[in-house]
Structure formats: C-alpha cells, structure tokens
C-alpha cells in the first residue's frame, strides 16, 4: 500500500518548470530512492512534499495515507509523521544538541537523546551540551539531524543527500541508521545522486529535469543511472533536449516533450 502518493505534480519557480507532471507512489515500510543528476529537481520535490515556504504553488496533488496535504502546514505534516532531513542542515545559535534532539522526541527524556547520538556515532557526553551552530562541522550537524529524526519515530523520513558532508568512515553508520529506521517501520525516501546511497534502497525512481524517467528495482535504476545519467552531459536546461540518451533505452525513457510548447 502506498503511504505517500505524488500525483501529476508540476512545480514552476521563477517561470521555470522544476517538476513536470511527476507521479510517484511510495509503499509503506520500504526504502525508496529518488535518484537523478544535480539539478534534476530532487530537493524541490522533497521541499514540496514537506510543504516548505515557496513550494505551495503546484499543480497535481500530494496524498498522505490518501489525504491531500495541500492545505496542511509543515508542523501538521510532521505531526502526521512526515519529516525531512535537509541536504545542508540549519545552524542554531545557542540551541543545545540535547534541546534540539528532544524537541522532536516523542518521549522527552535524556536517555532517548543519548541513545540516538550513540546510534549516529556521536559520543553523547561530548555533544549533548554543545550548540547546534557553526562550531559543529557539516557532517556532525547532519548526524545530529539524523538523531533528531530517529527520536521522532516518523512514519515517513525523507533524507536529502544523506551522505553529503559525511566522511567515508561514517557513511556505514548512516546506512545502519537507515536500516534501523526501516526495522522500526519508517518508510524512507532517500534523495540522492550517489550510487552507494541508491544501493541502500529497496526500490527506486529516476528523475531528470523534473520528470520521471524510470522506476523499479535498484539494480535496474542503478544500471540505468550508470550507463545513461552519469555520462550524460546535458545541463538540465528545461528548454534543452536530452541528446546523449542511448536510444535503446527509449522504451523506458519518456523522451523529452520539451517545454517549448508551453
């Protein structure tokens, strides 16, 4: 059953079509990946699903357990169990790691925050009372954000580029967290342009220039991404046509209709 459904979603920002008639179904309990090259529209999709400022003027719909999220504020979406970890996490001057994590916790006790920090690979004693500010590295903030998502026990966690800013040694830790979340019943949406992250998923969507190009098994999408997207040098210009596509893939590839006629 799909817990989240994106239906014919089109989003235009500053006169530029960012998402183009996207339809995606996210089945409950799965790890989904949304892959695509830089500029494909992945973060915009996540922002629209979360209901962030500036992402409200879209066509189509977003359904959470069958109900439209159109008139639902960010915090209400979060209360339904939908959350997002940012590609580049925010900094909070003077807000302690402990307060930040517990703010999203279902059960507000210290052990919960400590356990979450341990799980993401940060020593609680040295982090709990630091501020979530510029004195933490991007990778540390990313892990702390992940900890705050764990304690929230979300229904759906979208993770935008979960490996960005994370050192190689810690990537496995992040992947472990993803597996723990899945085990606890969270549906995960990994937003990524990395094949290593894609590998963690059970199922994947490939988007390019705001359009769905393909979906299916990780093996299939991974193969496609490697052979078509990585060598492709088009710059995701909405008015350009995709030239470097291997034509034998055209049956699974919706050839660019071009926005010229819009």
């Amino acid at each position: 059953m799909s817990v989240l459904e994106v239906k014919n979603l089109s989003l235009t920002l500053d006169g530029k079509k960012i998402l183009d008639n996207l339809s995606l179904e996210f089945w409950e309990g799965y790890i989904h990946a949304v892959v695509g090259p830089n500029g494909a529209g992945k973060s915009s999709l996540a922002s629209t699903i979360m209901g962030l400022n500036g992402y409200h003027n879209f066509d189509g719909d977003i359904l959470f357990k069958g109900n439209s999220l159109k008139q639902v504020s960010i915090d209400e979406r979060a209360k339904f169990g939908l959350t997002l970890s940012w590609q580049e996490p925010a900094r909070f001057e003077g807000l302690s790691v402990s307060d930040f994590i517990l703010a999203s916790a279902k059960q507000k006790n210290k052990e919960i925050a400590e356990n979450a920090l341990n799980t993401v690979g940060l020593e609680p004693a040295s982090y709990l009372f630091r501020s979530v500010d510029k004195t933490l590295s991007g990778g540390e903030r990313k892990k702390i954000e992940l900890a705050s998502i764990m304690v929230m026990e979300p229904v759906i966690a979208m993770m935008d580029e979960p490996d960005s800013g994370i050192d190689i040694a810690s990537i496995e830790k992040i992947f472990e967290v993803i597996k723990i979340l899945k085990k606890r019943g969270t549906t995960i949406i990994l937003i990524t342009h990395s094949l290593a992250v894609l590998d963690q998923a059970d199922h994947a969507f490939l988007i390019c220039r705001g359009q769905l190009q393909d979906k299916g098994s990780v093996e299939k999408i991974s193969q496609y991404f490697k052979s078509v997207c990585e060598p492709c040098d088009h710059k995701n210009k909405p008015d350009g046509t995709i030239q470097s596509i291997d034509k034998q893939n055209s049956d699974i590839f919706q050839v660019d209709k071009g926005e010229k006629d819009e």
């Binding site: 504020s73 915090d75 979406r77 997002l84 001057e93 003077g94 807000l95 307060d99 703010a103 998502i149």
Partner: protein, 313 residues
C-alpha cells in the same frame, strides 16, 4: 528586622535563586527595597557602605587590594510597591590584584509604574577582575522603566565584564548607557540579551575606549523584538592605542511589527589597532524555522526556541 528579612526572602524568591545565600556567612550580600536596606553582610576585604538619599541610596563598594572574593556577591535592588522611583548612586572601587563577581538582581514584580535609575562609577585597579551580572525580574504590565548609566575605568591587566539579562516579565523601557575605558592589556566584555514584547522599548548605548596598548573590548547585543517592540542599539568602540582590538556584535531578531535599529560605530585612531563589527537584523531564519516545524514543533514554539537560543549564552 524580622519583617525586613521576610521581605528580603520575598524578593529573593522572585528571582528563582536560593534564598539560602542570605544566610551563608561566606556570601556577601546587600538587599535593598526602594530606599531601605533590608539586609547586609560583608566578607573580609569587602566594605559596603550605604546612605539613604531621596528616593534611593548611595552605595559604596570597596574591595581592598589583594583580595579575591570566591563566592559571588549578591546585590538585590527591589521595588515591591506598584509605583515609585528608585535611585541608586553607586561607587565601586576594586583594588589591585583583587577579584570579585557581583550578581545583581533587580526585582520589580508588581510594578505598574516603577522607575529604576542607577548611576555607577566603577574604578578597577591593576591585575583585577570585576564581573557584574545583572538579572531582572519585572512585572508583566510593561510599567517598568530601567535607566542604568555607568562609567568604568579598567586598569592595567584588568578585566571588566557585564551581562544584562531579563529573567521574567516584560521589559517596559530599558535605556542602558555604559562607557568604559581600557588601559594596557585590559579586557572589556559587555553583553546584553533582551527580548521585547508588545510596546517594550530597548535602548542600548555601550562605548568602549581602548586607550591602552593591547587592550581589548567585545560588545555583544542579542535582542529580539516581537509585537510592536522597538530596539535601538548604538555600540561604539574607539581604539587609539597600538594592538588594541575590538569587536562589536549585534544580532537582532524582528518579528511581527517589531522594529530594530543597530548602529555599530568603530573608530580606529592608531594604525596598529584593529576593530571589527557585525550586525545582523532580520526575522527568524526560515530554514531554522522550517527545520523545527518539520519535527512537529508549531511555528510559535519554534520562534520561541530560536529566540531563546539566541538570547542564551
């Protein structure tokens, strides 16, 4: 005296601090309600003298040389009545090689129209440390007016730090005016963290004159204005000695119809001195807000968390 002691405890309870400090023989204290001393206790090396004046008190605090006071000295300036003016004329003298930390509570919990005026002259000797933490408890009526003025001279190798925090209640009107002069190798560190609501007015005027070689100053203001509150921050550092270093830091969060204004002035009158400033005024950062909201925190709560974070140390 019993009655006074009860009043003193009443004042202290308002600050959420432990009233036991009033009975600890190692902790010096001075408790004032309006123009009356309710309690006073000294420790060796520290001499406190008071004299009643019209609507207030003259207070002389004298710390002899070579004395380090280990436990913070508690001062409490209260105005328990709903109306009135309290005028404190304070002279502080810190001897060489001495150190002291003062925790001053200003408590006006029932104020409808209360004015608290403080004029301080602070002289800090050499190799000395003077830290002054001022914590306010106001009523929620907005009827408090606080006007502290201080002139400070920070001696060679000495350190002056001050912090102004509103613990409870509404600002009303706060109009701070501090000017400090720093001699060789001295450190000046002034901090204000205040959040204004409704039609509160926050005015901060802090000046540091770095006249000694290698003297330093940091002026920090973290202010939030919500509703129709207004803030005007004029912080100035003048550096006129070699290797003098200064930094003015002003962060203001503006919500609703609040208005904030910051004028950092830096003046350098020696080629080997260096002063920097940063001022950031704006609404609560959208990404911070949306991050907290995406964890299920309401917009109002998220704004409060972000502001409390900014105002905390």
């Amino acid at each position: 005296m019993n009655n006074d002691y009860a009043t003193a405890r009443d004042l202290y309870q308002q600050t959420d601090s432990d009233a036991d400090v009033l009975t600890d023989p190692e902790i010096a204290h001075l408790i004032v309600n309006h123009d009356k001393v309710l309690g006073m206790h000294g420790v060796p090396g520290l001499n406190i003298k008071t004299e009643q004046i019209e609507q207030g008190l003259n207070i002389e605090i004298d710390l002899e040389s070579q004395h380090k006071i280990n436990k913070p000295v508690h001062l409490c300036f209260g105005m328990l009545p709903e109306r009135g003016t309290q005028r404190i004329e304070m002279k502080v003298n810190i001897g060489d090689n001495s150190s002291i930390a003062i925790l001053a509570h200003c408590v006006f919990p029932r104020a409808i129209k209360v004015k608290h005026i403080m004029n301080a002259e602070i002289l800090i000797g050499e190799n000395a440390v003077y830290s002054y933490q001022e914590k306010h408890v106001h009523s929620d009526s907005g009827g408090v007016e606080v006007i502290p003025k201080a002139k400070i001279v920070v001696g060679k190798n000495s350190r002056f730090s001050t912090e102004f925090v509103l613990l409870k209640g509404r600002v009303g009107i706060i109009d701070v005016d501090y000017a400090a002069e720093g001699l060789e190798y001295s450190v000046i560190d002034m901090n204000a963290r205040i959040s204004g609501l409704q039609d509160d007015v926050i005015k901060i005027n802090e000046q540091a004159y770095l006249n000694g070689e290698h003297s330093t100053a940091v002026l920090t203001s973290k202010i939030a204005v919500r509703d129709r509150a207004r803030a005007q921050i004029n912080n100035k550092i003048v550096a006129s000695a070699p290797y003098a270093r200064g930094h003015v830091d002003c962060k203001e969060i503006v919500q609703d119809q609040g208005v904030a204004n910051a004028v950092p002035i830096v003046e350098v009158a020696h080629p080997k001195a260096h002063v920097t400033h940063e001022a950031a005024i704006g609404s609560v950062d959208n990404k911070q807000l949306e991050t907290l909201m995406s964890r299920g925190i309401s917009e109002d709560e998220a704004v409060e968390m972000i502001i409390q974070g900014l105002l905390s140390k």
